[in-house]
């Protein structure tokens, strides 16, 4: 597997309330995607999606102000299935809440798994 995979055409919004986690994952993503927007909660994320119409959303579920689930519901209502949504969560048992999402990556996160998913989605896109 190519560890230097890049998806420069992808525009991505990443929502995570934990700063350290957000910064670490952002560093990984910046090396690969075209444009990356960071949100600290669901509300920020929703605003960013409305402003930038990204191709893909990576989001945590448990976040202040607006949780991941509520945000996903908003996005599906506003933008339909046009935006790919990958949920990053520590709770496997919460997966059924987010049947609206396209895929799940469980924490502690295997970055290779995430990139494989992203690769698949980006190829489907093109």
């Amino acid at each position: 597997m190519d560890t230097k995979q890049q998806f420069k055409s992808l525009s991505v919004v990443y929502a995570e309330d934990e700063t350290e986690m957000r910064e670490s994952v952002a560093r990984l993503l910046r090396r690969r995607v075209g444009s990356l927007y960071l949100a600290a909660n669901g509300e920020e994320c929703l605003n960013l999606v409305r402003d930038h119409r990204p191709d893909m959303i990576l989001t945590d579920l448990e976040m202040p102000k607006m949780g991941g689930l509520e945000m996903i519901q908003h996005i599906r209502r506003e933008f339909g299935d046009n935006i790919l949504i990958i949920v990053l969560t520590a709770y496997k048992d919460q997966a059924h809440f987010t049947s609206l999402a396209d895929a799940y990556v469980y924490k502690p996160m295997d970055t290779a798994e995430l990139f494989t998913l992203m690769a698949r989605f980006s190829s489907e896109e093109t």
């Binding site: 350290e20 986690m21 990984l28 090396r31 448990e62 520590a90 924490k107 502690p108 996160m109």
Partner: protein, 662 residues
Amino acid sequence: MFPRISHFSLRYKLAFLSLVPVLFSLVVVGGVMDLLARQFHNNRAREHMAASFATLENALKNVEQGQRDTLASFFGREDIIASFNMIDRYQTIEDYQAKVFDPEKKRLAAELSQQARPASNDLIAAYDGRGNLISFALKQNGHTWLGIISYQDGEPVYYMARGRENPWTRAKSLPERLSGNLSLNSLETARSSETLLGTPRYRTLPDGFCIQTLKRISRRLPDNSERVVGYLKLAKRMDRSFIDALRQKADIKLGIFHGEALVMGSLLGLEYLPEIGQASPLSMRGNPENIHWPEHSDYFLHAHALPLEQGNLFLVVGVEKAELHYKINETRIAILVVLLISASLVIPLSMLYANKTIAKPLRHLMRHSEALRNGEYQEAVTVDSGDEIALLANSFNTMSLALRQREAEIRAHHAHLEQRVWEEVNKRQQQERLLIQQSKLAALGEMIGNVAHQWRQPLNALAVNIQDIGDAYDFDELNREYLDESIASSMALIQRMSTTIDDFRNFFRPDKEAREFLVTEALEDALSVIGASLKNNGIALRTQVEESPPIRGFPNEYAQVLLNILSNAKDAFHAKLCQAPTISVRVDTSPEGRARVVIQDNAGGIPEDILDKIFEPYFTTKSDAEGTGIGLYMSKMIIEKNMRGSIRAANHGDGAQFTLDV
């Protein structure tokens, strides 16, 4: 308690019961015997009197006969009074009375004056057949007075002459010695005339009595017929010795009546006189004032008529009842003694019998009963008296048998119950042990969950950091600077995880001693343990901290209480799946000046029907794996017993609200 019981009371009751009929029958027998004795004595008294009367009658007849025989010799004797009643030509006494002035009376008065002794003041009187004074002679101061009394319309008219040759003149009154002694048909007169007869010449009469008799004086008329022209009355004074002789002879007390007057005697009760009157053609009356009546005397009386020519002489005799009563009393005492002796024999005998037939079998039963009470089942009681007590004994035996069976059943049942209880207790202890074990496991699980929540984030970050090193190499970013940054970041994460462990260890370490602390410190400690778990479960936490007074106690205990309530709220959200789950914590001061913490959620609240049970031990709505029902009970103990505060639960809005005041 039972009343005090004497063992011997039954015997006395039975004796008393038997005493009543015994005494009753004794009284009846005594009464009958008394009656018989009285009758017997009455009869004896009557017989005695009858015998006495026979003797008396003979004695009196002899007296009368003797008197007649010596009648002639009475004349001229001082103790004999003779009077002549001259009827003359009149046939009846009534005719005779009608005449006012009678020459016969004058002649009689002259005769009387010759009889009167000249030497002394002497009075001699003549009476008619009914005792009326008709003429008299009186010698006084050497003079001789003659007097006659006639009656006009029942009133006396007196004529007196001084000596035989002097003329007769009507007198206003009689000489004093005769005064007041005259009144026709009056009893007093009759009595006085007798007295006059009996007291010749007015000498004081010694104690005694007179027996008198009358003799007709007849004259032959020219036509050869004979008619009564007068009566000669003779009276003999008898002295006391005569009565005493009679009395001794007859052994009775007696009184002697003549006509209507009592002439002798000392015993008669006035109330017996009518009885005497019935027994004779004459009515008899005495003057109570002139008779000495023995006090309280009481006699059996008998009137006996002694026929004399002039009229019946009545003897009234009696036996003193007191004497009879004395004899009756003697008999009564004898009867009483006999009855008392029989009673004193009957009572102990009846007591003995009652004791043998009733009290003894009962005591026998009682001993068995006591043995039964002490749980000793003896052999059957044997009472073969064939009465109710035997029935009672049989009943007792049946009861004893039934009791024995029942006791055996109860013992068996008891043993069974004991076994059951022991099993139940064992089971319960096992369950309790299990419960405690479970609660420990649950607490452990809770803690591990909390640790997991606390560690999940730094672990994730660490994982990404490590993978980023490889990624940086691929993209030619791996230099000293990058490594330093990555190491520093990772070390910070590891440090955070280490702190979490310290926090947890500190949180569950028991407090060594009570100290002053602020509830906000305890709240921070609790949130350090559960905060991550709340966040990871999407539960928003809102804290509002106002000023609160420091409190004294064990901060960890208090923090554990807060943790417990927060944990329950978290679980409530987990069960309810509600929108926007939020826990609000407010710290401030209660109106009483205590430190107050109010923890409120919006998970729907506590059902009203269990609201008052949630602080009870082992009460839980959770499944075995999730809860043990100890948390809130322990919380209440910590707040109310250890810290003298209060913990209350209520529903507020759409959730539960817990208020802690310390």
